[in-house]
């Protein structure tokens, strides 16, 4: 398994898009999209567990440093990464896809969408609960989680369709 330069560039693009555009525009208090977890989601399926967790930890740290928060994104991203092997088994993605990594064309929009959606939802729940650090405004918290997850999922699918749809089945 190897990660091509094309993928690394796409990961860097995701990170820059997150840190310098999404985090800077402050769309609305209810809409805080986070698309950087897509980097962890798109890693090869058979990546070893410790590498997956460590890369999630480092990625969270980078986002934390840029956002001026401490530990929030680290916690959410590692938590999400831990659910990834479980979901891959549940969806039996490895059997469906011979590409070793998520590919919309071979998996179909619904399967890949729900896989990404569930993982993003886990990330957002962990992040927003820890961010508010209380359940005082419960309905407010729920609304933030749901709306942000929907917008993140929409953005992720759009980016994947734009940038990842045309290179089906070559390298990797």
């Amino acid at each position: 398994m190897k990660i091509s330069i094309k993928n690394i560039l796409f990961f860097l693009f995701l990170l820059v898009f997150q840190l310098l555009i999404l985090d800077q525009t402050s769309i609305n208090i209810f809409i805080n999209p986070y698309i950087y977890p897509l980097i962890i989601i798109l890693l090869p399926f058979e990546i070893s567990g410790w590498l997956l967790l460590i890369s999630a930890f480092i990625l969270g740290f980078v986002v934390d440093v840029f956002n001026g928060t401490v530990g929030l994104h680290m916690f959410a991203t590692v938590g999400m990464a831990a659910f990834r092997p479980l979901l891959i088994n549940l969806f039996s993605l490895q059997k469906l896809d011979n590409n070793n990594s998520l590919n919309i064309k071979s998996l179909g929009l619904i399967v890949s969408g729900s896989f990404i959606g569930i993982l993003l939802f886990i990330h957002h729940v962990l992040y927003f609960v820890l961010e508010s650090f209380s359940f005082a405004n419960f309905h407010f918290l729920i609304l933030r989680i749901v709306l942000s997850t929907l917008v993140s999922l929409l953005l992720c699918m759009l980016l994947l369709l734009i940038f990842k749809n045309n290179n089906k089945g070559n390298e990797r």
Binding site: L19, L20, D23, Q24, S26, I27, N28, I29, I31, N32, G49, W50, L53, I54, A56, F57, G60, D64, V65, F66, N67, G68, T69, V70, G71, L72, M74, F75, V78, G79, A82, P85, L130, E131, S132, F133, A136, N137, F140
Partner: protein, 280 residues
Amino acid sequence: MYNLFKFIAKYHFFLLFLLLEIISLTLVVQYNNYQKAKFINSANAFTGNIYTIQSNITNFFKLKKVNEQLAEENAYLKSVTKEIHYVEVPMLTSDSIFLTDTLFLDTLISLNYIPAKVISNTTNKQQNIIFINKGKNDGLYENMGVVNQKGVVGVVRNISNNYATVVPIINTGFNINAKIKDSGFFGNLTWDGVNPLYAQLYDIPNHISPQKGDTIVTSGYSKVFEDGNIIGYIENVETVPGKSFIMIQVKLAVSFGNLNYVYALQNNFDNELDSLSYEN
């Protein structure tokens, strides 16, 4: 011993997951309080430089707004200097002669304004943070008050040589002692994390009936802000059932959505105040 290694090898994924989550959770809990968050200094040269490049690009599109703000501030400053020019000199009469200290303007200057540019700013998070492009080299230090032409912005938290982060009022960890300008009653101002346009003032006794539009200012009980910096205006007053205090919704004077230039308040008597508070 062998069994222990076998156990670790078997459950390494879960154990590593647990370890990493405990590390991050400890960081969150430990540094949730903004005064303590000094372990990871996000105001470093790396993030600062990247945000500077980014804001240089996006600021181009904000120039019109920035110009308007500066013109507004100029107009305000002009009106203030006019007032200073026409200080009324008391008439000298033959039987009673008194002189006021005409140098009072000089002797009372305890504050320097250090201008800084906002290079990164959010309003949609619970713990919003502002990055500014001035740091230690420009005379900034921790726990410095930050204002703009409209009112109070926040307090300097982390600092590096050329950059600093500011905790704004719209951060759930922020709280400040504030008072109603007219009546002088003071309370605690915090942000509930819901609407970035409003903050909440607690602990005002309920026999006070403040009017909508009254000014809320800093109380001057801390050395961060002097007495009378405008924070906002009363939007509405809510009674808390079963409590002898009221809760006041304060419309913030500063619009955090478009924040371009801010001033850090350098207090020249800071060391003096520090030494006093240590003695007591």
